[in-house]
Symmetry: D2
């Protein structure tokens, strides 16, 4: 196909997130949202009103049968990801699946195989690794300015948007996990998870995950659907500097603190010793203001045009699901430590 031409996209699932995909793909010059699909006609009416140029259907086959459609974005409930993803790949279309990629690692593996066999792009919607702020933090870490990353603490809380098929860890932690994996570029070896279901029986609405990494790193992830404040806060503690990334701030999303503990300064008669603490400037680096989802959509189109591997490819999606599965096993065993084996892309 000649990519001087527009890439025609179908968006499947027009609930909360699908319209954001339609809006962002529509704003990009080299693509056209040709189809919007949802089983609920009232959702399609809303799309028709906002985007008169987009065709709508309740039958995904109509989208998949259209030879002009090159790629499909899936923004449906998680339990449908595998079935729909497999259908889209079978139809020979490049695929973007919302996070988490599927309900199990096994399903993820299968989708990865299908995409590989057919030479199709398979990308997972880990939006935040496309956020300019996260890219900036990655650059700061890679430059060595932060020193060794000692641990990361990430919190994603708010009131609402309860899911009924997955718990809050499966809903919100994919963001935290994908950010942490992206920043650290190393895999966790074991996971603990505690949590509690208050509103829907057996669906935890508050969870806390701790991750132990291969290189000795440590991370804490706290998620809740039951918090009065919207919190999206990631703290990266380095041996030299510390970073706080507050995604709810309109400006100054990142603050770099020139703070650290310094080695024992003196030993006194009690065999006691004291640390000293370095306190320097706090810097908020300028970060360009661009919607992460727009960067993600552009990246998806680029991978189609260039045949390149997406930054959040199927293997990334799989690793996140493997960690979530381990967290679920830990939850089911009173929070005890559970090993996790993740698969790295064979690059």
């Amino acid at each position: 196909m000649n990519h001087a031409e527009l890439i025609n996209i179908g968006v499947v699932g027009c609930g909360y997130w699908g319209p954001n995909l339609i809006r962002n793909f529509s704003s990009l010059p080299n693509c056209r949202v040709k189809w919007a699909c949802d089983v609920r006609p009232e959702r399609l009416e809303r799309i028709e009103q906002l985007y008169p140029g987009v065709r709508t259907t309740v039958h995904i086959d109509q989208v998949l049968d259209d030879p002009e459609v090159e790629a499909v974005a899936i923004a449906t409930p998680v339990f449908t990801h595998f079935e729909l993803g497999a259908k889209v790949l079978s139809a020979g279309k490049h695929t973007l699946i919302e996070k988490p990629m599927a309900s199990s690692a096994e399903q993820c593996q299968e989708l990865i195989e299908m995409a590989k066999e057919r030479g199709l792009a398979l990308m997972v919607g880990h939006t935040f690794i496309y956020a300019p702020a996260v890219r900036k933090i990655k650059a700061l870490i890679d430059s060595g300015e932060i020193g060794d990353v000692l641990y990361i603490s990430s919190r994603r809380l708010n009131l609402g948007l309860f899911q009924t098929d997955i718990n809050v860890a499966w809903d919100l932690a994919p963001h935290d996990i994908s950010i942490i994996l992206y920043l650290l570029d190393v895999d966790p070896v074991s996971v603990n998870c505690q949590g509690k279901a208050h509103v829907t029986p057996h669906i935890e609405d508050v969870t806390n995950i701790s991750l132990n990494f291969a290189n000795g790193g440590f991370a804490l992830i706290h998620n809740s659907w039951l918090d009065p404040n919207k919190v999206r806060l990631t703290t990266v503690v380095g041996s030299n500097k510390m970073i706080v990334y507050d995604d709810t701030q309109p400006l100054e999303k990142i603050k770099v603190f020139d703070k650290r503990v310094e080695g024992p300064r003196r030993y006194d008669t009690f065999g006691d010793f004291h640390y000293s603490y370095h306190y320097g400037d706090t810097n908020s680096p300028f970060v360009i203001h661009e919607e992460p989802l727009k960067v993600l959509c552009r990246h998806f189109l680029d991978t189609i045009v260039n045949g390149s591997r997406p930054d959040s490819d199927g293997v990334n999606g799989l690793r996140v699901v493997q960690i979530l599965e381990a967290a679920s096993r830990s939850l089911a065993s009173n929070g005890s430590l559970v090993s996790v084996t993740t698969r790295r892309a064979d690059r």
Copy 2:
């Protein structure tokens, strides 16, 4: 002793916290700080300069031998609490011990027995339960305005003040635990704790505790000595309203959010259901501005004068240590669930 007269106090330990005790006791009309004691002469010089009226000594026996001294406050490292507390009680003086009360539940039990036998006041320095903000939250909960307390999340983070004999959970979590026990008035039955030591080997500087309560309640406590921001944030999620208590705010320490999830509103054709969310006013109740430690010191004097039981008595101190011991056992067993049996005061 005739309590129309001044109560003479000795303060043992003049490091970080002792001077705060001296300052607050000095500001109260019905007491006098007669002695300050520390093994480090340079700490005593500082006290002499600031409080010319206070006598200083490196020998605790000089304090205990003074018949005018009725009460002693102990603000030394934790590992000395038991030995010094026992010494003070043996000398027949009322005792205020900084938190945590001692290094083990067994030690706490013994101090409780000693105080009981001698009819002496034994109080533990759980400062925050004397904070006007915490009292206000307790009143809001007890009034029923919040509804059922679903869970509490508490965070106490900062850079520095590393301890060398106890980890960050033993150092900071006593505040969170004592607040939570005070607010909920119910005991945890089991504990998980994960953490990691980055700076001093085997002394965790980042920990995360989760508590399961007898009545089904849940709490999360996150502590760190390695965070760029000073955080003292407790979130109380009720079934009707939610409270955020941010102790770092000079004003508006408490915010009460009229927010909640409301039951499923409708069932649609997919057997799917949706919650609705109530968003109302946010109210920051006026809270009198008084230093919690001053309230604590006044309360200690009152219990001496009235022979009443302190709000943070030895049994409270014991319960906190029992939970910390369980957290340490969980840490040592990869974060797995550990039962905790706390002892309630026989009221």
Copy 3:
């Protein structure tokens, strides 16, 4: 015309603000943006890309000659408002003009007459009086809860969007003035204004206006295009309570402080007296989240359908311009006091 049908709108001026009008009118069910007009073809290209259904032209006459077009919104530079407004009204179309309404009170008067003669709606784009937060403050004042309004202080600052035909007072103060007039419902009798031009000669980029009101009220308005922070802060000081409206906050835009000075409490031997201060709760009333410009657009359509007077009609626009003219005269006479005669609508 039958208003069961769609109202066809033309938008003239597609610079910074025009696209916002197009976006909001497009989102309303009972209207259609039929035309977008700008003298700069590159601006029209952008509109065509975003709104394929909107026709574009560089000739306003094409818009005015279209009999389907019932109403025109003018979002061009201020110096063109009168000429274009007159043209639109002459063509028999309802008119929405961006703030400030025109370059002089005389021009405003003439437009008011033209609209009146032709029985056409004439509305001015004082966006903020349609903000849910401002409506809420008005309700709080009208309820008497605040007591007498003693004074209002309003600040609108940011870096950028320098205008080249008007100074910062004419650019930003129309928002502050229209909010103040709306809240107080009384007119200023005199004005002082000081300011300074730093970037463009003779175009003040920092100004400070003070207003004295007929009923003894007082207001201060500070505007700047040269401030590092975006500030949109209005403080309403009442004799009983005080309100702070911070429009840059995503939530809790309004805070109502139960604070006031209370009368002299005691007289001492020096003939000296002391006030006491009441400090109570701070409340942030829930305010629905809706874009003020959308409310404004809907209101414009309503006035067309119902033949009612807009809340920000020509007379409102005139009063704001009369105050700006007085401010300019004060600026030109070293900040001295200048009388202002405003015209109230003959309701």
Copy 4:
């Protein structure tokens, strides 16, 4: 006198501010507060309780007659500053007077002469020029990093502490004015002031001052005793960077914004031109945490020991009073422009 010995100080006036002077002088190693004086015995009782080592008296002569007393700090109402200052200087004691220095420029001149004739230190309590944050801003300006200072906007607001002998400009603006004079090191040539008295007749509780400087500089000062929030905010707008100094922040009191307007970028066919805006990092330089009043007290002692000129000497005090007098004249003439002639120290 041999300054290896302690400098004995008397503090006259023990209302709101005097105790702060006593506390800070007491904490310095090379001085002793020997006397506290106030006409109200109940104020002295309070001092006796807190500082048992300080002698108290209701008769200033007892302080002045004590040959050991080398220096006296005056913290009484403004209308007494001249009489008491003259008395203290006549008694041959070094003098620290709270701001504003006196009720008129004439009185200030006379005190300056008296001190000069007697070779005594005369210092005015312009606390904030001793604040580490203000010193840091001065260093940033002097380094050229900010570029030319275009204007300064300073706000000092709160609820309460109404004075009964001076208006809010005389009470609070001395802080803003002394900061601005210190930073700019140039004098204003003219002043406008508007304001209003709401609580006490003829005592303005809200004022706004604008200052025009010899070098073309501009400043705005807003003061209020009737604001729900405590505000202490100074914005320094430079041609290259901008600084915001928020003294209410416990940390990050200063933020340096790498933001500026850049020259017209292009001219288009309409003779129209556009500015561009540079947005870079925001930096919060580390500033040591020390109470400004303590630095001031230490500086006062240093000037006594070294015979050096204080940074806030009588001439600084005089300049501030000259500006306040001009502001009062402007207030009395409806806010019109009033010239101000300040006197620089003959250095």
